[in-house]
């Protein structure tokens, strides 16, 4: 996302592939690839926070929950158009992200991880607290439900728009300020960069992205928002996706999103250990393998391969 728009050729190729896929895939597979699109949005957002501004969050599932519930409740109570609920989720999560970013200013590393972890744990409890408004354990059913194809289109359109938005934000002065804060707070301050502004801004933007992903996520479960769907595993999935992605290249984020979007589905068909445990075990193992094999994520791997080819 840095510098020039990544080679227009590869973007066009990806876009065409994604546009053609639904006509060749079964409905089940369409929903799988739609799932990847949903994670693309969330991973892209978290990448701005971790990769660019150098902050961590194990709590982005919480923002997905807030986005998803925002959409479901608006749809249930006011039959609001889903596009409008998406914009609303974006705005609400942006503001909440800024607010979460404020206390996060005083924390770093492991403490920030713990604080955001607490967020991931506590937000899914809110529907149980306010069960009349948020449906309790039973969840909230949106008024509108949509087809797999619709979700597929929505997920990848959001991906494209938000990728472009991220590129616009990150390519110049603001993106450099994020990375400066990540590399040296002292030098960033001496260069006139207000740490609190840029750190909270990164939180706000990445939370807004998670909010949109949350709306799509709820649509993909027949418009049904349920507290259990937004557990800590979801937050970890986004974080792992961002780790696989590395530093913000289109290919890296695609790889990260595909990894966390597809693997849990694929790994349910493991023999012997059964579907439930198979999913957890395979996921865990792959995570360890990825961390070992791709310390800088998929983007780092690509860079190393390119260096090899040139040498």
């Amino acid at each position: 996302m840095r510098g020039r728009l990544p080679a227009l050729g590869s973007i066009a190729a990806v876009a065409v592939l994604i546009a053609v896929l639904p006509f060749t895939l079964s409905s089940y597979n369409v929903s799988l690839v739609a799932q990847v699109g949903i994670f693309f949005v969330a991973v892209l957002g978290l990448n701005i926070l971790t990769g660019y501004s150098g902050q961590i969050s194990i709590g982005h599932g919480a923002f997905m929950a807030i986005g998803g519930y925002t959409s479901a409740v608006m749809s249930r109570d006011h039959h609001t158009n889903l596009i409008v609920t998406m914009l609303m989720a974006f705005a609400i999560c942006f503001v909440l992200g800024l607010l979460v970013g404020l206390p996060a200013l005083r924390l770093s590393g492991a403490y920030l991880a713990l604080a955001t972890f607490a967020l991931a744990i506590s937000v899914p409890q809110l529907p149980l607290q306010w069960s009349t408004f948020l449906g309790g354990t039973g969840g909230v059913q949106s008024h509108t439900t949509v087809s797999d194809r619709w979700i597929y289109g929505a997920a990848w359109s959001c991906s494209a728009i938000l990728f472009l938005l991220a590129w616009l934000i990150l390519r110049g002065r603001v993106g450099r300020a994020f990375r400066a804060v990540r590399d040296s707070e002292i030098a960033a301050t001496a260069s006139g960069i207000e740490l609190s502004l840029y750190k909270t801004l990164a939180f706000g933007i990445s939370a807004a992205y998670a909010g949109v992903a949350g709306v799509l996520f709820v649509m993909a479960t027949n418009g049904f928002a349920q507290p259990t769907e937004f557990g800590i595993i979801l937050s970890l999935q986004i974080l792992i996706g961002a780790a696989v992605a590395g530093l913000g290249s289109l290919w890296g984020i695609l790889a990260g999103a595909a990894f966390v979007g597809l693997l849990p589905q694929v790994s349910t068909s493991v023999p012997v250990i059964g579907s439930d445990h198979g999913r957890d075990v395979v996921f865990g193992l792959m995570v360890v393998l990825v961390m070992l094999a791709l310390p800088d994520g998929f983007a780092g791997l690509l860079a190393r391969l390119r260096a090899l080819v040139r040498a």
């Binding site: 390519r171 450099r176 590399d183 040296s184 960033a188 301050t189 001496a190 006139g192």
Partner: protein
């Protein structure tokens, strides 16, 4: 008129008084030296001026206004840029990007293309243009010191604080650096405060020298006088000044 003043600046770290009622004034357009043995409080003075450290008492006055309530990130916006003794670069940014971050306060609402062109020119002015697209991490110390200088210049400051710019340079390179600093001062109408152990550089460049020892001012004046001051010779044990 003095552009930058420390007024009765006092700062202690536990038992150590790093700045003990230090008053110094830097005339507009001059090159002033701040010298003293290790631990004298020179870097602390820079950190106090740039508001990284808060003074216990006393004040920093820039262009007639107190910086007592100025946020650290505002200092460069007002016109004071600095370099660091032990380098504070952005290792994962390229050399050019480091300079572009330096232009953060001077590039608002400007076109990216123009900002980049200026940054490249600034890099060329300090002789680092050929490293523009390399990551900052991994370049030699002396090169990185000049990259930091370029980053500070990119802010288009009025005052430049240089903390040991000659660190890691040989004799020849030090003379070259002296020429560069003087040239920058003239061309960009800068006022420079320089911390340096390299006495040749200080004596060559400075219009005025201020000497600290254990946080206290022990001498202040033109280089020729300061060099012969018994208190200064005593502080340095005759060593570095004679060289």
């Amino acid at each position: 008129m003095a552009l930058l003043t420390l007024d009765q600046a006092r700062l202690r770290f536990g038992g150590i008084v790093a700045l003990d009622d230090v008053s110094l004034a830097v005339e507009e357009g001059s090159i002033a030296g701040l010298i003293g043995p290790n631990g004298a409080g020179k870097t602390t003075a820079f950190n106090a001026i740039t508001r990284l450290y808060r003074l216990d008492s006393g004040d920093v006055i820039f262009d007639g206004r107190s910086l007592r309530h100025t946020r650290p990130s505002r200092v460069v916006r007002l016109g004071i840029a600095r370099t660091f003794q032990n380098l504070e670069l952005f290792p994962r940014l390229t050399v050019l990007e480091n300079v572009l971050v330096g232009a953060h306060v001077s590039s608002r609402f400007r076109r990216e293309r123009d900002v980049r062109r200026d940054a490249l020119e600034t890099l060329a002015a300090v002789g680092c243009a050929e490293h523009a697209n390399r990551p900052a991490a991994g370049l030699p110390f002396g090169t990185l010191k000049r990259v930091e200088l370029a980053r500070a210049l990119a802010a288009k400051p009025r005052v430049l604080l240089l903390d040991e710019p000659a660190g890691g340079l040989n004799h020849e390179e030090v003379d070259e650096l002296a020429g560069l600093i003087r040239h920058l001062r003239d061309e960009r109408e800068l006022t420079i405060l320089l911390v340096e152990h390299h006495m040749r550089l200080v004596m060559q460049l400075c219009d005025h020298v201020h000497v600290l020892d254990f946080g206290k001012t022990i001498a202040s004046g033109i280089p020729a006088h300061v060099q012969r001051d018994p208190a200064v010779i005593e502080a340095y044990l005759g060593g570095e000044l004679a060289a």
